[in-house]
Symmetry: D2
Amino acid sequence: MFFASDNAGPALPEVMQALTDANTGYQMPYGNDTIMDEVRQTLRDLFEAPEATIYLVTTGTAANSLALASYTQPWDTIFCSPVAHIHEDECNAPEFYAGGAKLTLVPGNDRMTPDALRTTITNEQNRGVHGPQRGPVSITQVTEQGGVYSVEEIQALSAVAKEFDLPVHLDGARFANALVALGCTPAEMTWKAGVDMVSFGGTKNGCMGVEAVIFFEPTKAWEFELRRKRGAHLLSKHRYLSAQMSGYLKEGAWLKAATKANDNCAHLLSGLKANGANILHSVDANIIFATLPRAVHQKLLGSGAVYYVMGGDVDAGDPDEQLMARFVCDWSLSTQQIDQFISLF
Amino acid sequence: MFFASDNAGPALPEVMQALTDANTGYQMPYGNDTIMDEVRQTLRDLFEAPEATIYLVTTGTAANSLALASYTQPWDTIFCSPVAHIHEDECNAPEFYAGGAKLTLVPGNDRMTPDALRTTITNEQNRGVHGPQRGPVSITQVTEQGGVYSVEEIQALSAVAKEFDLPVHLDGARFANALVALGCTPAEMTWKAGVDMVSFGGTKNGCMGVEAVIFFEPTKAWEFELRRKRGAHLLSKHRYLSAQMSGYLKEGAWLKAATKANDNCAHLLSGLKANGANILHSVDANIIFATLPRAVHQKLLGSGAVYYVMGGDVDAGDPDEQLMARFVCDWSLSTQQIDQFISLF
Amino acid sequence: MFFASDNAGPALPEVMQALTDANTGYQMPYGNDTIMDEVRQTLRDLFEAPEATIYLVTTGTAANSLALASYTQPWDTIFCSPVAHIHEDECNAPEFYAGGAKLTLVPGNDRMTPDALRTTITNEQNRGVHGPQRGPVSITQVTEQGGVYSVEEIQALSAVAKEFDLPVHLDGARFANALVALGCTPAEMTWKAGVDMVSFGGTKNGCMGVEAVIFFEPTKAWEFELRRKRGAHLLSKHRYLSAQMSGYLKEGAWLKAATKANDNCAHLLSGLKANGANILHSVDANIIFATLPRAVHQKLLGSGAVYYVMGGDVDAGDPDEQLMARFVCDWSLSTQQIDQFISLF
Amino acid sequence: MFFASDNAGPALPEVMQALTDANTGYQMPYGNDTIMDEVRQTLRDLFEAPEATIYLVTTGTAANSLALASYTQPWDTIFCSPVAHIHEDECNAPEFYAGGAKLTLVPGNDRMTPDALRTTITNEQNRGVHGPQRGPVSITQVTEQGGVYSVEEIQALSAVAKEFDLPVHLDGARFANALVALGCTPAEMTWKAGVDMVSFGGTKNGCMGVEAVIFFEPTKAWEFELRRKRGAHLLSKHRYLSAQMSGYLKEGAWLKAATKANDNCAHLLSGLKANGANILHSVDANIIFATLPRAVHQKLLGSGAVYYVMGGDVDAGDPDEQLMARFVCDWSLSTQQIDQFISLF
């Protein structure tokens, strides 16, 4: 009954096996391992992008910050949602890696709209050298509120960015969950929709700690390698990152895991609804925001369920007061666990 | 016959096993896993330092840069050897993490001497606000040239640092190799000798990618946590770092591995000497620098041995010219492999 | 008929004279000139703050960025208005000097309200190590929209900051204009109202390029000196900064200039109103925002008046459309020039 | 009898006059003043460089740091002399502005030699992504030890830099003193000798605080403008920088001042020699390093002379011990003052 986050579950058996298999003999360090060659090819094939530049790092924050920094000057500003992970949850890492750049928030909830993005970009620059300069647009897919942009929505946001010649970044910490939700190809959700660079998450969907940074055009390759090393994110025994990603991608393990996570979420959603929960945003992948009365939270949490209540103090106050909570499902939850949780109501 | 680096070998079976054992169920993310509680206690016990603050990161560069940054202002300079890893091999990561601080090189080879350190520190500041301010002293143990400071030497360097009220950092990427070489305790090699913070390496001696940062007094704990997160070095599924370190420390696995690596090196050293190699620095742990004629390098490398030749072009030139090479032994080398290599001469 | 900005006018005769007087013989460099001793004392007396630390720099951006950086960690966020100069007009200088810190915008126009500030600060931190940490509150006095906070309003904002133990910065690029408008003492507008540090502007009110940074408690003095030098803002021939400030402060020249500027503005305001201008914000000092029909702008600008039209293209469009403009008055404008301008309507 | 530094004397009458003349009416801010147009043209003519990009800042540290940052990536290293101002006297400002880049010292005293430079550059990079990358070469002209590179020497250093495709920066804080010493043209000492960017000093030779940054090819113009603003070095009332530079350049005032300073130095040098001073470096412009017995220093300083003794404590010790001192002459010293000083021996 663990719904706190998809960053707290175990690694996929396929990932563990790949790691075990990789643990023999010598491999050249720093990304020159042979497993990385295979991973690179697999991702290029998956993305139908034979020229793509592909690097592995251990955290989503590193993937986002290093990718964005490669396209952001210190005097630029990055456009993102007010609830973007890069804004709320990375302790100024994007600003650090980009040398002190700014983030400009596009008003709105969940998914950014093209109109709000255009207005925000337009407003950001009529000050010449005095104001920050326009930098990349960063889209979070799945959003931090559980929404999934349609391919058309990504296209529309990219089109706005292109009006201003700005690069587009996709924070795909939950890339697989979004892809499964949309039923499209990786290419359709990224470069075919105008995305220039992707943080392709592995950790939340069954790896131990690996994310790929993918640039669809290779201009920034060498600069990225220097940035990664300077950021202390180049692992010497890199094969253990490669192996994770290799196991993750093998025979669709990543898609199966995301499908299971999303299905788990759908199952949980119907259970929550049946018990009167008020659902707050569209539930498109594996995240639910809902309100429940304080007394209900107390019962659920008291019975061993684990999830975050964000709207106030669970322990004290009016038992009928509605408090917001977040429920995240990962692939490793079983239907039984969800049913057990629902039975607690 | 792989002597290129101890960062290219496999992980210890104990580490792999601990990782497998850890891969079940949920664990709170971001260092709040229960395995980390155990690791923290184990390291505090090992270092006889019940108040020590202990954090895990994935690379030695991260450990060094984050530890140093916690004690370095952007207008400071860090004192280190000209061959220090932080100077030569981290692509300005220490400068990056310390906000643009400088490194001041203490003249000399291999191990810094107290006199050279004192002179360098003294010279660094007679300029008030104009020059960089004096920052930490960083000692590499094992040095990049294979030397191991005696406990007395570390004490003497620390004493110089303390004359100027400067903190002392120990880059212990090969901490275990040095400890085994000295036959002392972790406390003797560190805080009892005046060291304030340690990068306690795991990766080179049998982990996949984990290093501990240890502060012997806890003042900087919260700041370090923020620096680590801002540097994108806080892993969500942190249990997999904890597990590596747990397996590494269990039942002396780390010391056995380092003993084997050092013994391998001693065996290799006698073989090299017997075949006329000119040994360049003192060989105290698991690293040898030696010169051999170009023709000999060609034969060895041509037969499948792997190591770095640093003194010139192996492929072209006078066959009798002496070229410098580096040989590093890890725990996973067998005596047979070394004998096989020696038999190639 | 120049209303574009108060950064485009000449220097006060008193400032010019002081500069001429200072231009003889040798003076120790880097702030050790004797004129600075006098300036320091004068400002301490003016602010009734005998312990205050006082430094001079050449730009308002430097004053703001260096002052804030002294109280902002790289992982912090600074709270300010969406129209604050530090946010909109300093090309990420505050972020640069603070090592990559963030700015968090307090919703609202013109003057921040205590409630909006409290809500914003409260919202900023429930994320532990993941979100930015709370940093200073920065108040712009005169605001960028021409408003002047009352002493009580500053007290109320400071009180909110103090609830969270946050320092308070006052961007006083137009300090004198605000002071004259309020008719209070410098101490009342600053430390007595809870302000910890002030950017005390000289440039806009009759200097050539000098601003004082004032800290009311001296803890950060040495750090500031290092930050100033590292920022390349420590002038060797510092006497020429001191002299400007000395002339500016002598015999109330600064207050007379600000009084004249504010009076000019009041005179202009009545002229604008009499001619049908729509006044947008409260006009409290020397800045007016107003809308006028495009045709009127065309006539005024075509007749040689200089001011910024911000609401759209002056040259093309419906002649009756209202376009926003900004009018700033400095001390050097004469009543005749204003009357001449008004006569153009 | 002031020989402490050429940063402590008054401004040239021509500079003061230009400032006074400029102090009337309105001028567009931020470098858009008409005086700057004239300065830009004058400098382009002087340098025979019609395409040169020219900017003004207030300090030599700003000129150096901003110029170098425009050609230095954060992972690069800048090559310079161990006694370079950018290394010893700028409190890590070059590192700050370049985002954490490193400085690599070319062994030697006074003037760098092409061989030492080539060896240093060669050694700096055989480490791929691990070591810092090669960045600009910075030449100080006049050196901090008083030497002046011949045009041929600058050509030879630039030629080495070009072997590695590295840009060349000239720190010309004492540009005029060097030019007068060499009797060549500005073009010959800079771009014709392979220099790409110049910090063209005004402050030490008779301005109040102004230095020009000159790029001989305009690629970095816009980036420099953003860097200058972000560094808080863009003055609003820019005309007062322009005016200083205008007065400085008018009718050869700058060359006359430098000639006088160098002549003063030659006069002082013969006086020092005649009184037994031991001259330490070549005296090529307006700086002398010499040793004198402690007792002599005591007499000179006790009689009111002002200069820096660097070799030890003047007040205490063996009266016969030789202590190193530095003597700098500016344009405003009179021959009588020098004679008076010499008469003190």
